[in-house]
């Protein structure tokens, strides 16, 4: 015989269990709704695709030590630093492709960042100059100088890529990956062409960039692959002016 006290206690416990189950169900629903609401606020929508624009790439050619201007269409962000990185990424993708005229493995991932800084008036600079035509006027016409002139004309006709152009010249600090440097072919010509094509491409698309410095994994490095100096500041805009120095 079950006592009245035990019956009442059982009913109370049963009611409490049902109530606790209801509360748990309610809490679960709230947590689910909160999760769904959080997902809605997350940036899961597709990123807005930047409009494709034309960019001038100075593509190096090891066979004749020249650089040819190629105009390519690619989506470019508005931020100048991201824009420069995207352009250099496309340039290095060309070098990493099979049958490249200037084979350098690595591709677009080789450029980690590109920072644009105002140029200091007294910054020490070194002038990377194009491969000159014959010093005595006897060798064949070097197409490099012609391509440099062509890309400078393109740079002059293109509008300034960012409002920063009106603020004065800027220095681009290109941060390369150590993997890119380690896999870069060693040689004066190969390394020089890589640096010159990067400098020329930056200046062709961002005319306010007049100087370029290189870092590797955020640090200064003596040479690119044993030859070309990476500790110097390279001038991008005044390269053609030095052609008059040849004897």
């Amino acid at each position: 015989m079950i006592s009245r006290f035990q019956t009442v206690l059982f009913c109370i416990l049963l009611a409490a269990s049902i109530a606790m189950g209801a509360v748990l169900w309610h809490l679960r629903e709230r947590a689910h709704q909160r999760l769904v609401a959080g997902e809605d606020s997350a940036p899961t929508s597709a990123p807005q695709v930047a409009p494709a624009e034309q960019a001038t790439l100075l593509v190096a050619n090891d066979a004749d030590s020249s650089m040819l201007a190629q105009v390519q269409s690619l989506p470019l962000p508005q931020d100048p630093g991201a824009r420069a990185r995207a352009i250099l990424g496309r340039l290095l993708d060309l070098y990493a492709a099979p049958n490249a005229t200037h084979p350098v493995p690595g591709g677009a991932a080789s450029v980690t960042q590109v920072f644009l800084l105002p140029v200091q008036a007294d910054s020490p600079t070194s002038v990377p100059v194009p491969l000159p035509s014959d010093a005595r006027g006897e060798s064949k016409t070097n197409p490099h100088a012609e391509s440099r002139r062509a890309h400078n004309e393109l740079a002059q006709t293109q509008p300034a890529a960012s409002p920063a152009a009106a603020n004065g010249p800027e220095m681009a600090v290109v941060n390369l990956t150590s993997a890119f440097v380690a896999s870069h072919p060693s040689g004066i010509e190969s390394e020089t062409l890589t640096l010159l094509s990067i400098c020329g491409t930056l200046h062709a698309n961002l005319p306010q960039v007049t100087e370029v410095r290189f870092l590797v994994d955020g640090r200064s490095r003596p040479t690119l692959a044993g030859h070309a100096d990476l500790t110097r500041t390279y001038l991008a805009a005044e390269a053609d002016n030095t052609e008059a120095q040849h004897p």
């Binding site: 030590s65 070194s126 990377p128 100059v129 060798s139 010509e189 190969s190 100096d229 004897p247």
Partner: protein
């Protein structure tokens, strides 16, 4: 005796010291050179004039030791190729009556600053930095991309890393002679400017020479090379042409000196 000797020797040393100081102060060369600098501030950096009796060439075989340089097609490192070329060229230049200083004679590691120090102490009329690469074809001649020093003051107090700036014009002239002779020897030559740490610190007419597999001149781009780097005949022709170019450079330098007042 000791007490007497000490002041006597001191007095002797003092007289000798005074005499030495007087000689230094009144030395006509020292005074004249200072006066010349003071009176001709617009004079060019005035690289050392080449004397036919003493024509010094510095050969810098790039890399060495742990720094192997580029890996060439036959598996040999660049450092071995440059050393072999340096030794061969030294013999050829010695046979032509030139004094030669090399930055290394064995597979030793020589720092870039040390190479420039050797070249600068030699007061040489030509400094050649020898390199090799599998990229491209023919002979690549590179001169420092530094802008020429605008004034003699900058040449007198030159920064170590830009010492070559005062010599860029002479280096370009040397590259022109090398280019002419190499072309005459039937080689494909490319001229360029670059920034190499060792060359930029050299205070002499300096050219970096990068030797790549040979291709016939005036051929279309993309054709296979006609001679690889490990071809002994090709190496001999390059060395002979470089020696001939330096001989012409010595002649040009002597002619320039003869025409100067």
């Amino acid at each position: 005796m000791a007490n007497l000797d000490i002041p006597h020797s001191f007095a002797v040393r003092s007289r000798a010291l005074r005499l030495w100081v007087v000689i230094l102060v009144l030395a006509p060369g020292a005074g004249a050179s200072r006066l010349a600098h003071a009176q001709s501030p617009a004079a060019p950096p005035a690289p050392a004039a080449a004397s036919p009796a003493r024509f010094m060439v510095v050969l810098d075989a790039a890399h060495g030791g742990d720094d192997t340089g580029a890996k060439l097609s036959d598996g040999k490192p660049e450092k071995a190729f440059t050393l072999a070329l340096s030794v061969r060229l030294r013999s050829l230049l010695g046979a032509r009556g030139m004094q030669v200083i090399t930055t290394r004679e064995s597979d030793a590691s020589v720092e870039l600053n040390r190479r420039a120090e050797i070249a600068n102490h030699a007061n040489a009329q030509a400094c050649l930095s020898l390199h090799a690469s599998e990229s491209g074809t023919g002979i690549h001649l590179f001169v420092s991309s530094l802008s020429p020093a605008p004034s003699p003051e900058s040449a007198r107090f030159t920064a170590w890393k830009t010492a070559q700036a005062a010599w860029v014009t002479r280096s370009l002239a040397l590259a022109g002679v090398l280019n002419s002779v190499l072309l005459h020897a039937g080689m494909n030559v490319t001229l360029g400017r670059t920034s190499l740490p060792a060359v930029d610190s050299m205070a002499c007419p300096a050219v970096a020479i990068e030797i790549a597999p040979e291709s016939a001149p005036q051929t279309t781009v993309g054709q296979p090379p006609t001679a690889e780097l490990n071809d002994p005949a090709y190496q001999a022709r390059v060395a002979e042409a470089l020696a001939a170019a330096l001989l012409e450079w010595r002649t040009d330098a002597g002619r320039t000196e003869a025409t100067q007042p």
